[in-house]
Amino acid sequence: MHSITDTFVFLSVTGALFFVPGFLFLHIFFKKNRIFMPFETFLLSFCISVGIIDFSMIALGKAHIVFTPISLIASIITSLCLAALSVRIVHRSIYPSEETESSLTSNNALGAFSRTQGLLFIILLILTVLIKTIYLSHTVLPTATDLGHHMYWSEIIAETGTLPNYAKQSIVTGDDGHYAISDPEPIADFIIGEHLPFAAIHLFSKADFFSAFPVVFLFFINLLSVFALAVFALRIAADMRQTSLNRSIFTPTNIALATVFFFGPIYSLSSPQAKFVSGGVVGNTFGNLFIPLILLVFYRAFSEKRSGLLTIAFFLTFTLAYTHHLSTLMLLFVLVATALFYLICNKDTLKVSLLHWWKLFKSPAPILFIIGAFTFFFFVAMPTYIETHAVGTALGTPTKSTRTGLTLLQVFSSNGEARVALGLAGAMLIFAASRIRQRYAGAFVLGWGIILFIMTVFPEWLFINIPSNRIGAYLSFPFGILASIATVMLFALFRSSQSAARIPRFLFFIASCTFFVFSSASGSIDNGSTLIAAPKSTETVQTFAASDYLASRISQNDILLKDHIYITADSWIKLFFMRDYSYPFSRGFLKRYSDNPNREQCTLYMISTPNTAKGRKCFEETGTNLIMVNPSYDAAQFEKTDDFSLIYESEYIDIYRRK
């Protein structure tokens, strides 16, 4: 009963917070949202709401107004009023004179599925939700390391009602070799937009951070990203029709369906899909929704020459910049590549293209937004990665073997054989069709795919110094869309009366079955390899029980060290104390100490070799007096000595106290 109430409250709050502001914003900006299909209104309402909530909370925080439901509602209303005011100022540029009933009609025609297609779409969605839910039912338990880190900051925001100071204490070694615990120092690992939405949900619903709400919220974002990819495919496919293709097969709705197939029931678990959800990869999960949606809005802004849409694209990009650095970087590369690709393919009309773009950019709405964004960026708040000058670390010659690019084999295995094979076929087909290549549709999908492929396989060409597998996770999106286009295009080519490649109906049936079996098998193997056997619930509750025991007894003078290697859900322990991001201190993976000898070694010595001179020195100089370990791996070294009392014992957790 309690969980049903939790679900109801969470869904109500999420619906009110993350749809209503964005929907009203669109309504104010675009006269009853006529230019959008329902899918687009649905997606944009969510993403714009995220932006409104993020910037409202940042503004409140900077104005030293404590976050409460009332202050947040007031700031959201103020944001909407400001949007309405700006619409009055730039009225004409947002509502072009050509805005008529015809755009509504064309939207309806483009987005209307036949009854069969509609049912197929729903079936694919049911399968997608079902498969992901089965996976998440084993991983919804709060054990993921990253999610634990993120929820610490969200809880700080919700508890204090202020913006967090992204800083942490660490063990440092002085010039004289003396160990000490430093004052909190800034960290660049986190970005405010990753935490504000969760804090906002908690403010209104009082949902426990240990409940399913963080995972369910990420799950929702992940599902929306499937919608965003389908809508992107739907829109660009409308700009790709060819006379040589069978018109009843090569339709935008069929390509949207194929896209849902490639991102829904197959390849639905491995990174960057459900695995990112359960792993609490918050920024990437947001980025995977925002990137296709932003590209969709940019695509429509340029192809339809709508400055209002350009403004929305800028707003969403600005929101993404405050949410995830890597996704923002990927997006910027994609946009530059798309622009260059378009200009190269249309070099004969270069001046005309540039003139159109210039006209679009110098419209009042984008200019007003750029001025507002500039003011916010420089005078209200910058993203933490800019403030801490962390951007430079992502650019430059690759420094580690994990950053020098993936092999083609690794690209195939990480993004799915069927998706990559058909994606490459799609890229070649579009590239070969000059009419498509020269359009915005071709430029966007090819620019997206080609630049990410280069960044994944040849990062040194673009001076990208980021782990290649992280970039590779973004590659599945353009390749999935290209695979959808290739699949439908090939079928349309095989059945076109005007095509030399036309094949008999029987062979067409065989080809369809082959495609379906190949894709489904590849995607299902990928799903199967990601499923885990059973949740570690006993280990987790024991970790939490021990943490709760300590939290109710510990004093400010007690310093706790826990093990990260063998304790389940250890990153969530800090939520019981809420003292510092680094509290308790943690013994990390052993490789990290050996790979980086300059890293502090005390956390290693104090658990692995507590009875050595180095271990004792660390205990004495850092004041560490409590150790939490898994007794199956780390009990013997503490039992050997009289320096420690064993004060807590369960199957998976021992707590030692130094005398």
Binding site: I4, G118, F121
Partner: protein, 124 residues
């Protein structure tokens, strides 16, 4: 396009309906997994007071099917018994025990609790 097109709104509604059901299941599943008593069988032994080395008050948190427990307070390397007793504790209950010891001798003092085939020990 066929004569009976399906608009996007019903698809969005169908999706939201599926998501609501899925959310309810995940909330229920998480609550169940986090419940220390559901589908689990474990117990924990600890000192009640963290920072007082002279206190032998201890607690047992029982989330197992076991209900009969026995404790012993032993001291030194020879394990001289200072106190012992038996007690019962049901699943989901926590008990705090104050061993009846007049004077604490020198040396490591261990509290050993046994139940069925399981044994746990804490010491200070």
């Amino acid at each position: 396009m066929t004569s009976n097109p399906m608009r996007q709104t019903p698809i969005v509604i169908a999706f939201l309906a599926m998501f609501i059901i899925s959310s309810a299941f995940l909330f229920w599943q998480n609550a169940r997994e986090l419940d220390p008593n559901t589908g689990k069988n474990w117990w924990a032994l600890s000192f009640s007071v963290l920072d007082d080395d002279t206190s032998l008050v201890f607690r047992i948190e029982n989330h197992s099917d076991l209900s009969s427990f026995h404790y012993e307070v032993l001291v030194g390397k020879k394990h001289v018994r200072l106190a012992e007793d038996s007690f019962s504790l049901n699943r989901g209950e926590t008990i705090e025990i104050h061993p009846n010891i007049d004077q604490l001798p020198d040396g490591r003092v261990s509290i050993i609790v046994t139940s069925g085939n399981e044994k746990k020990e804490i010491y200070r």
